[in-house]
């Protein structure tokens, strides 16, 4: 029962994120936007390129959706409201998110087209940039919680949320999260101006609907993971726990979506340089800093 509720909440979150994304990119707030777009996409014919790698082309959208949903399955909405309370929950989130990259690689290679291919391989470069940065801050978070279980991670933030306890890790994880779900300014795989849609360019009809849904679920998952790892999940006065989780998740998602409007797309070379030369030392420093705090304080 709680699993079902969590899934419903996930879909609702994805809907909100889709509305927010529409607002961020077009400037108009259309609450019915995703429904109309989804129905319209389902009504369009689904075009398959002539010589695709058929398996990859077909598997990529469901794999993207599955990895986002799996990652969300270990994140709690409220004490007890979680699909699967794994003992290695914090690690599992990263394991599931790694398949986002596999899915995009398939989506890049499958359609047999230059722009999709460029997008797919660019995302691989992006992965090299963000993969360390999405794992190392989680290490520091787990250090404080003395457990990899997500519910205990939230419980450990009762005195002070991690965003304040380890702000460096928070900043690094936020940037890495935006890179995972390829939101602008990290939208290298789907650059609309440069690559005419990149990895999403060759998908139409219901497959495109599934890709867009998967993307929205991915954004919700990452926002939720930030809320769980850094903002204290369901903790907070007055409101019921699930309301806090929802509020924090949506706030983070809105922040991620709106920041991208005001920044140009990052260059691949710059992204790699900053993540490795600045990001990783910061993440290491964060671990050290948290270690000192835990041992001394």
């Amino acid at each position: 029962m709680s699993a079902l509720l969590a899934i419903v909440a996930l879909l609702a979150g994805a809907y909100f994120v889709a509305v927010l994304e529409g607002w961020a990119s077009t400037g108009r707030f259309r609450p019915a936007g995703p429904v109309l777009a989804g129905l319209s996409l389902l009504g369009r014919e689904s075009v398959v390129p002539r010589r695709p790698d058929r398996i990859f082309f077909e598997v990529a959208p469901p794999l993207l959706l599955a990895s986002a949903v799996l990652a969300a399955a270990v994140l709690p909405l409220a004490p007890g409201l979680i699909v699967a309370d794994l003992a290695t929950g914090a690690l599992f989130v990263n394991a599931a998110l790694a398949y986002v990259m596999v899915a995009l690689l398939m989506a890049g290679w499958g359609p047999d087209g230059a722009y999709a291919m460029v997008g797919g391989f660019r995302f691989l470069g992006q992965l090299v940039a963000y993969s360390m940065l999405i794992v190392m801050p989680v290490t520091a978070v787990a250090m404080r919680a003395e457990s990899l279980t997500t519910t205990e991670v939230v419980a450990s933030q009762a005195p002070l949320p991690n965003a304040l306890y380890q702000p460096v890790g928070f900043a690094v994880f936020l940037v890495a999260a935006m890179a995972v779900c390829f939101l602008p300014p990290f939208d290298l795989p789907t650059a609309p101006g440069e690559l005419a849609g990149g990895v999403m360019a060759e998908y139409t009809g219901w497959r495109l609907a599934m890709m867009r849904l998967a993307r929205a679920v991915l954004v919700v998952t990452l926002a939720s993971s930030i809320a769980v790892f850094y903002l204290g999940g369901w903790l907070g006065p007055l409101l019921p726990p699930w309301a806090w989780t929802a509020a924090k998740t949506l706030a983070v998602a809105a922040a991620m979506l709106f920041v991208g409007r005001y920044v140009p797309r990052v260059r691949e070379a710059d992204l790699l340089a900053w993540c490795w030369k600045i990001g990783i030392p910061l993440a290491l420093f964060n671990i050290f800093f948290v270690g000192v705090l835990l041992l001394v304080v």
């Binding site: 790698d53 398996i55 990859f56 794994l86 003992a87 290695t88 690690l91 599992f92 990263n94 394991a95 790694a98 398949y99 990259m101 596999v102 690689l105 398939m106 290679w109 047999d112 391989f121 691989l124 992965l127 090299v128 993969s131 457990s147 990899l148 279980t149 260059r267 691949e268 070379a269 710059d270 340089a273």
Partner: protein, 173 residues
């Protein structure tokens, strides 16, 4: 117990099947990703055997590793799409002999060694805790040196690979 055996068998067969696909296909990328899914199947086998940490770690690592391998395959080999029907197997006789020998050794080890009584499996939370204590106490030296060595190797490889700097706008700016 029965469910566990069924899962183990299923994922084991899936691992073997994907591994066979690795060599039967002529597309480089398909080969690399089939290997990825084979390893992921092994990871789920670990999960079925209730070693949660190991399973999750396996699944996570293999995704990234195999994707990087896919790039290298595309980079160094021609015809990554496999349209000319290239044969993935080389040195067939030696490989078959090695494969049969390896299987015999593995099966023999599994069946003939006395593994002792089946231990009680601690809860996953306790497993993670014990793993952590192990890392920090008995095996700390091993993992620290391994970790630092790998990091050094990565940095050194990248430094060697970078050529002289071109004008800005080149790829390794």
């Amino acid at each position: 117990m029965l469910l566990q055996t069924v899962f183990l068998a299923f994922f084991g067969l899936a691992a073997i099947w994907f591994a066979v696909v690795v060599f039967r296909t002529s597309s480089m990328v398909r080969s690399a990703l089939a290997l990825l899914f084979s390893q992921a199947a092994i990871g789920t086998m670990f999960l079925a055997m209730q070693t949660e940490f190991l399973g999750v770690l396996q699944i996570m690592m293999m995704a990234t590793e195999m994707a990087i391998m896919a790039i290298f395959m595309v980079m160094y080999m021609m015809d990554p799409g496999g349209l000319s029907g290239m044969d993935m197997t080389h040195q067939k006789r030696v490989s078959i002999a090695a494969g049969v020998l390896g299987t015999a050794v593995a099966v023999g080890t599994a069946l003939l060694v006395d593994w002792g009584p089946i231990a009680g499996v601690p809860r996953p939370g306790a497993q993670v805790h014990d793993l952590g204590i192990e890392l920090m106490e008995r095996s700390m030296l091993i993992f620290e040196t391994a970790g630092v060595t790998i990091l050094t190797a990565m940095v050194a490889t990248t430094a060697i690979a970078i050529g002289p700097r071109g004008p800005r706008g080149g790829v390794d700016d």
